[in-house]
Amino acid sequence: MDKTVMETQKFWRSLEEWKDQPEAQEWVGKEFMSTPMAEDSADEDVARRDFLKLMGASLALTSMSCVRKPVSKIVPYANRPEEIEPGKPNYYTSSYAEGGESYGAIVKTREGRPIYVKGNPDHPFGGGLTPRAQAHLMNLYDPDRLQSPQKGDGKGGFQNSNWDELDDAVVAALNGGGVRLLTSGLASPSLKSAVSDFHQAFGGKSYEWDLVNYDNLKLATQTCFGKSVIPRYQFQKARMIVSVGADFLGTWIQPATYSRQFAEGRKPNESMNKLVVFEGLLSLTGANADSRIKVRPSEYTSIVLGLAHEIAVKSGRSSFNLNSNTKNTLSKYSDVAAKVGMDPALFSQIAEDLWKNRRQSLVVAGGLDSSTGTGLQIAVHLLNEILGNNGKTVDISHSPIVSFQGESDSIQKLINDINAGSVKTLVIHRANPVYAFGKNSEIAKAIESVPNVIYIGDRLNETAQFANWVAPLSHEAESWGDIEISEGVFSIQQPTIRPLYKTRSLGSSIMNWTYVAEKGPGRILNPDNWYEYVRARWKEKQGRWGQSGSFEGFWNRVLQTGFVNSKGSLDRAGSSQFRTSAVSQIRSEVSDGLELELYQKSGIGSGEYANIAWLQELPDPVTKVTWDNYLLVSEKRAEELGIEKSGQIVKVEANGNDVEVAALILPGVHDDVVGLAIGYGRTHAGRIANEVGVNVAPIIAWEGGKPSFTFQTNVKPTSGFNELANPQGHHTMMGRQLVVEATLEQYLNDPSANIHKHTLFSLWPKYEYKGHRWAMTIDLNKCTGCSACVVACQSENNIPAVGKKYVIEGREMHWIRVDRYFSGDANDPDVLFQPMTCQHCENASCETVCPVAATVHSDEGLNEMAYNRCVGTRYCVNNCPYKVRRFNWFNYSKVAKPLDKAFNPDLTVRSRGVMEKCTFCTQRIKYAKHEAVREDRALKDGDVVTACQEACPSQAIVFGDRNNPETQIAKQFSAKDSFAVIEEYNNVPQVRYHTKVRNKESLKTSSKGGH
């Protein structure tokens, strides 16, 4: 053990804790003091004491009657579908796409209801899902969804209508000419052809637009390589990764795919990858960096060119011939390190490391689009070309990403069309520009001036307010579709339920309109329905994709696997000739004021799924705040601006407008950069999302007809205050050794480096586990903190969201949380994530204090919780050193219909007054055992997969039977680098963690010291 590290390294969870401020102590003191008498908005009108009286009465009544109440009925199927066995789940391959971010998915259904989504492990983009991809299923059951066509007055007033009326009116409008179609990016080839059929029938043209398009990157690739695509990055092959402001583990392009690839290269051995991040805010990627350097967003381009200069000009090395023009351009960036205020030696070292790992390094850059973003991406292409990465870790020609079809300038083009008076009928599908740019924006005014506005969407959102007709859109789980994620890789989107309401997919609506109008090509007029249309498109392409055999056979194969790959191995990467002329288009303007970087949060993203409570309550991976967006600001800058503490409302002025939002002081943010998340402040999303957070729309910059998400700003504190719901201060574990980190060198010398070992003994003999013995390990080195496990657990285990007010009171219900720790100094800390769930301790302290023996240990090592036995004393949560038990303060199970349809019927939906916590997905253990019995075999490794394990994009979680020496868990559990949290307490947890390994020289130490 490295003693010096132990003595000086201190982990802290919040600024208050770091500074030993009284707030942190205060919370610890009152954590268990909350009382039910403090409830002032219980959603039932029966007060607690009356409730007890009623209990007595109803007990009496039930005992008195001989007739059972309530009488239950069993209503069998009239004709049971062959594939449905009541009580058994069915799984269907499908895909998830939001804008362009797409994954192959598997949807679990029970008795015909989709209830859970996981990544399709065989899919090239399906290894894991993001929290949003997992939660999007809840949109299907959203009580605020549109249930029938609506007739609008164009000013936000609506009345129910029906499809016949709508179709007649829409077709009449379409027949009048002057048609424009604004869709969200169409990654679906079938929808694309349907849209072209639509235009053949009614004329006009269409624009595709999403708030997050990665237009900069597409344009740069077009300029450099002649192909408007997003490169397919292969992080698993890269040993040296430099990210300049790209949050590829959290929100950038395909984060779940990248997380898996990144984790693959993260194994702590000689070839472990190294991640260097330059950024202004503290992103999830930055939090995982081995080396993180704070720079301003306006310096991103010069950082990349500075690195190119170090390698190509200063050291004169390059994988391709640089012409003198390029060299001249680069020579302007000879002193970048000094300009951005970083150590020039470190900068040279990074360049050196990149060159040393040429052809197996990777440089990525850029967050949301900005006015200088295209130049930045060209610079990145140049640097990757110099390093010889293009065609190795960067795939540009073999099978690049093509799912991001939206274009940023679409909105401006549409405004121009409308202003020119050439638009009579505007059909908008899914896109929500009025929210994105504000109700006073040009686009809002333009849409308002169009005579006929038809909105196709799942709710009466901000843009739909202007519609004359709203055609309700089916959820993805209700409609057929397909997605081309990367070139030549086609995924199928299968419906798993009939439309719950009178809704249609876009394709279906187009088919109906062409049919009613009797216009358009035969291929759209002839098929009976949208499903036939999709099948016909796939049939056309079967040969082209090199798929032999009958179409039926091919189609069934596709439905089974979920995708077709017509490109061969996706390990390959291709590139084409780099056009050096592109370099002249690089613009780099370093500013010196305060810069605002708008960013996406991994839960809410661009805000389309904001009405899903799970996402609102998902703690942001880095800040841990729920139910809000906020202005990220560094401690020093906050002091200068006069911001006293987190939560104080500040006025953010930019581009002639301002918004007022709470500030959040976050360690690790650049002093000249502030950050604000998009996707909040919805006004017409539904009861959950409305008025949560602040919409940034008014201050978005416009340049050259495109929005830019990074710009100069002024921040002024106000006297207002908005308490942020940050659960990270809750469930504190009182400063015991919780997390262990080591440098790669320490780890290679001794995998158990820095693990503080304790000599433990017990007075009692150990229990002998004869059968299974369930255990889990979590690899902190692989865990990126993305929080996909939190949402997966919520979905699997019927865990409610409690709302902002109760998160503030510490009543959040998540069974698994991801703790965030900082180490080092507050202005430049290292970050460490630790998923924390019930540790299923062998000597569990919760079990001994339960007065009614509601929580006991099973002979398979599970800490079990019998809900029906629990009387709610909460002694157990008081006594749990890991703070993983959750109490149901309210009857969360009484959800609005049809949200109850999303419940997993395999386990109890807990009611008020009951303690609950992670069960190691005991229903899945049961299911696997029963399956084994059905097949007359013993359980084997991999039969039981917990929800968190299944969801983890980086495969950090291993679960299984540690009594069987052949299992992966048995090996991992006793590995040298594994440690138990608060081992000295001798609780003997059955969850162990692996050391976090950092690929750097030394660990951050704190000036505070002490363990």
Binding site: G56, S63, P76, R80, S858, E864, R869, K926, V933
Partner: protein, 186 residues
């Protein structure tokens, strides 16, 4: 002791004299009138149709399942089609309606019972459901209390059908009848 608890005690006292129930609140003997007077003693008794013929999932699933109407009609397209009940059934099937049977064996929501492991371990249907082949109308035979469950789980041999065991090599997995709370409560 408040008047409420006294009142409760009084009610408990009186209710135990009602209907001759052995234990309160367990519904033993519950025998509701079904929408169609299906006769188990005829089907399972006289005609010796095996249980699994209609309750098709009992050996492979959590629910034994009340048969869907198409299973009834496998026979009743031709058999006894003159009976009014069968005509009612056929009509419902043809219109796509179902029959709302009244649930006889009702466990609380917090109990997760699974038929499959019990059937697979060789527990006869009659062990829990009683002599169904003699019932004109099904009633609840066992009290289905936790004590009753544990009675067998503690002595699994007691519940096993020995003929079945002879037929089948039971593995350790099949034999085990766990007793921990989490077996049924999760």
């Amino acid at each position: 002791m408040s008047w409420v608890s006294l009142f409760v005690l009084f009610l408990i006292g009186t209710s135990s004299s009602f209907g001759g129930l052995e234990r309160i609140g367990y519904n033993q003997g519950y025998q509701p009138e079904q929408p169609i007077p299906f006769d188990h003693s005829l089907h399972a008794g006289r005609y010796q149709i095996p249980c699994l013929n209609c309750h098709v999932q009992a050996d492979k699933n959590r629910y034994a399942t009340v048969p869907s109407l198409n299973i009834c009609l496998n026979c009743h397209r031709n058999v006894a089609i003159d009976k009014p009940s069968i005509q009612k059934l056929t009509k419902a099937y043809e219109k796509g309606y179902s029959v709302p049977w009244l649930k006889v064996h009702l466990l609380p929501d917090f109990v997760m019972f699974n038929h499959q492991p019990h059937v697979k371990a060789g527990v006869k249907c009659q062990t829990c459901h009683g002599p169904v082949e003699e019932m004109r109308e099904v009633y609840q035979f066992s009290d289905l209390s936790m004590g009753w469950c544990l009675d067998c789980h503690r002595n699994p041999e007691k519940a096993r059908d020995l003929d079945w065991e002879k037929k089948k090599e039971l593995t350790e997995v099949h034999r085990k009848a766990p007793e921990s709370c989490g077996t049924c409560h999760y």
